[in-house]
């Protein structure tokens, strides 16, 4: 017994010794590994490559980070590039302190154009763009004034307006909910448009509006959705990124418990149809698409052609396909769709000006 313990301890020490030795040799490998890609990059400088940094929502947030990555990936694949240095790539941020690091890491890997996704990255982009003057940057949902940065904004209010029209036409209980992430200007545009859309159809409906204060807390979204559905709300529009996944799970649970339950979610940013599947049913009414991918590809193309709109702010709206409603796949009947199209036409023609801010009543 005693001998065995001694043996165990000995083997531990031995293992430690080999690991230490391995650490020593790793050191050398480091230098080799560190130099090789750098040398490789120098020879391929003429090639164009793009990358993006996600905000804390992560690349699989089923929302606008994912949409941005879709754009980057599709653009890269269309050019026949591979994922990685010299092609297209992304880095995920887990903490606001990671933004500058990730942006800098990508700039050091000689990507020509780097997208920062999310308003939270404004300061980080401004800092890094000032240091890495040869790299082009683009910020989505934020504005940075620098010669090598393009700012990409969306008219979320226009898409939100159509979502509001759809909700008001489809509701049976005349109670509609809105769940937002953080209370910030971007999300307020969703809300303002949504409220205006609902009011355009049925001014008497009061929308139950709630901000959860976070984009990555599905449990908060679920709790809020549960409260709203219990109070009679039948359609919830969420603009809350990952938090919105909780809204879907609550709606799905209700649909599962009662097949005839009239509960709907309007998704956001990406087409969230797949999120809403419950057996043969689906609780996704439609999704308000914010085509970050369209914008990403557009800017990438311009940059590759040497026409990078540095220092400018690009605003994508309904008329240039920046925002739209997703295919409802039969959830919305055709006559309602026609009515929605009428409203869309009015916005495109400039007949309806969708407000950017929520009117503070009370």
């Amino acid at each position: 017994m005693k001998k065995r313990k001694f043996g165990l301890a000995m083997s531990l020490v031995l293992a430690a010794g080999t690991m230490l030795a391995a650490c020593g040799s790793n050191d050398k490998d480091n230098n080799d590994a560190g130099e090789k890609p750098a040398a490789g990059n120098d020879t391929e400088k003429s090639e164009f490559s793009i990358a993006m940094v996600t905000d804390v929502g992560g690349v699989d947030d089923k929302s606008f980070n994912q949409s941005a990555w879709k754009g980057v990936k599709e653009f890269g694949e269309e050019q026949g590039w591979a994922k990685g240095t010299g092609g297209f790539d992304y880095l995920q941020s887990t903490d606001p302190a990671d933004y500058t690091t990730n942006l800098n890491n990508l700039a050091r890997r000689d990507f020509n154009l780097i997208f920062g996704v999310g308003f939270l990255m404004e300061d980080a982009i401004a800092d890094i763009a000032a240091q890495q003057k040869d790299t082009e940057f683009a910020i989505i949902d934020g504005e940075v004034d620098a010669p090598n940065v393009t700012s990409i904004l969306f008219k979320e209010q226009e898409g939100g307006y159509l979502a509001g029209v759809a909700a008001a036409l489809m509701t049976k209980s005349d109670k509609i909910g809105f769940i937002g992430g953080m209370d910030i200007p971007v999300i307020e545009r969703f809300e303002a448009g949504f409220l205006a859309g609902v009011a355009a159809v049925k001014p008497e409906i009061k929308v139950d509006t709630k901000y959860t204060g976070a984009f990555d807390k599905a449990e908060l979204g679920k709790a809020e959705a549960s409260r709203m559905y219990s109070s009679g709300v039948d359609i919830i529009f969420h603009a809350a990124g990952g938090t919105g996944n909780g809204v879907f799970s609550e709606a799905k649970e209700r649909k599962q418990a009662d097949k005839d339950a009239y509960v709907w979610v309007i998704g956001v940013d990406s087409d969230q149809y797949d999120e809403g599947k419950v057996g043969d049913d689906n609780i996704t009414l439609t999704s308000m698409l914010k085509r970050v991918d369209v914008a990403v590809k557009d800017i990438a193309q311009q940059s590759m052609d040497g026409k990078f709109p540095g220092g400018e702010t690009k605003v994508y709206g309904l008329h240039d396909n920046g925002v739209s409603l997703a295919d409802s796949r039969g959830a919305i009947p055709q006559d309602v769709l026609d009515q929605i199209d009428e409203y869309a036409q009015k916005i495109a023609d400039g007949e309806v000006e969708v407000p950017e801010f929520v009117e503070k009543k009370k």
């Binding site: 005693k2 313990k5 001694f6 301890a9 000995m10 531990l12 020490v13 293992a15 430690a16 690991m19 230490l20 790793n26 050191d27 490998d29 480091n30 590994a33 560190g34 804390v56 992560g58 990685g84 880095l91 995920q92 887990t94 903490d95 606001p96 302190a97 990671d98 500058t100 690091t101 990730n102 800098n104 890491n105 990508l106 890997r109 308003f119 939270l120 404004e122 300061d123 800092d127 240091q131 992430g181 953080m182 209370d183 910030i184 200007p185 204060g213 976070a214 984009f215 990555d216 807390k217």
Partner: protein
């Protein structure tokens, strides 16, 4: 014959713990089909690779030192300050506000901003301190709740002072801890003077605890409240004092972020996590000032270096978090390794 002195064991324990953590982490990478060698090379390069990352690593360590000191200080008085996170957040805001709202010469402005952060953190610690001392409300519950209050109050304040926006304006240059010199030295990293503030506070904590009468009383209350009372010490006063000083350290941790790393404050969707990591930092460092430096260095380097694993080795963030957690896990249960080593020594001596 004493082949393994206690000193040697003290050094061996953390080394073996880290190696064990890395080994198990390597297994995790192997199972999930990633190359552990490239992974660890990326981690190493992410911490020590060049002057830029070294600068960033040190920058990351500064708030961890202060958060660790805050937890450790309260611990020494027998108090479990879970509220470091909240104290850090109010400190962050106070420093950002003072840095932005006033225009003063640097020699007044910077200390004033630091002081504001410390005072804000101290006030946030004072409330649970008073409740504990007068009404015997357990500080763990109060401090946890104070975290949420801090988070949402600060978010509301940011919205108010920025006129509906989501972040405060940048602080004036006169309040900034950023340094041209350190930045150039480290290839434009965001390294700032905060590390010196943090190290100074390590000395301050050591001085208070070891060289002053109130430090002696604080520790005494931590060892045995009743005996201290019997010996004529004012236990309630010491509890409040410990929470206030602890909160001040945490507030300064927030100032690191406000005046150094970020230069402003954005409204937050959740906690920064620095305050909670501070608990682990303090425990790793056995609640001693020097130990906190060690714990913070480990935490800060791993946290910052981990960013390079997805970047250079393509390992997903989730796997990286598991690996980092494993390393910390093994360091935290270093006691088992210590027992093993001592047994081993005794065996050899017996022969």
């Amino acid at each position: 014959m004493n082949i393994m002195s206690n000193k040697m064991i003290n050094i061996l324990v953390p080394v073996i713990s880290i190696i064990l953590g890395l080994l198990v982490g390597a297994v995790v990478m192997l199972i999930s089909d990633y190359n552990p060698v490239t992974g660890y090379i990326a981690l190493w390069n992410g911490i020590f690779g060049d002057s830029y990352v070294i600068g960033e690593t040190i920058r990351q360590i500064s708030p961890y030192i202060l958060a660790g000191l805050a937890v450790a200080f309260a611990f020494r008085t027998g108090l479990f300050n879970i509220g470091v996170e909240g104290q850090l957040i109010v400190g962050w805001f106070a420093a950002a506000y003072v840095g932005m709202a006033f225009e003063l010469p640097k020699i007044i402005h910077l200390p004033l901003a630091l002081l504001a952060a410390a005072v804000a953190g101290a006030l946030w610690g004072l409330i649970p301190g008073i409740l504990k001392a007068t009404l015997k409300v357990h500080e763990v519950i109060v401090t946890i709740m104070m975290n949420y209050i801090a988070l949402h109050v600060v978010n509301a304040l940011i919205k108010t002072i920025s006129g509906g926006g989501f972040k405060t304006d940048r602080i004036h240059e006169t309040a900034s801890l950023r340094s041209e010199f350190l930045s150039n030295l480290t290839d434009y990293s965001t390294l700032h003077y905060g590390i010196f503030v943090a190290l100074a506070m390590v000395v301050v904590m050591w001085f208070i605890l070891e060289k002053t009468k109130s430090g002696y009383e604080l520790k005494s209350v931590g060892f045995n409240e009743n005996a201290s009372q019997y010996a004529g010490m004012n236990v309630n006063k010491n509890i409040i004092l410990a929470m206030v000083i602890s909160g001040a350290f945490a507030g300064l941790g927030g100032a690191m972020e406000a005046l150094g790393t970020f230069g402003n404050m954005s409204s937050m969707g959740g906690f920064t996590g620095i305050g909670f990591d501070g608990i682990a930092v303090a425990l790793l460092g056995a609640n001693t000032p020097l130990g906190v430096i060690f714990g913070a260095t480990l935490f800060g380097s791993l946290k910052y270096g981990a960013n390079n694993m997805p970047n250079a080795a393509g390992i997903p963030v989730e796997i990286v978090s598991i690996i980092i957690a494993l390393v910390i896990f093994f360091v935290a249960c270093g006691y088992i390794i210590r027992v093993g080593l001592i047994r081993l020594r005794n065996k050899k001596e017996a022969k």
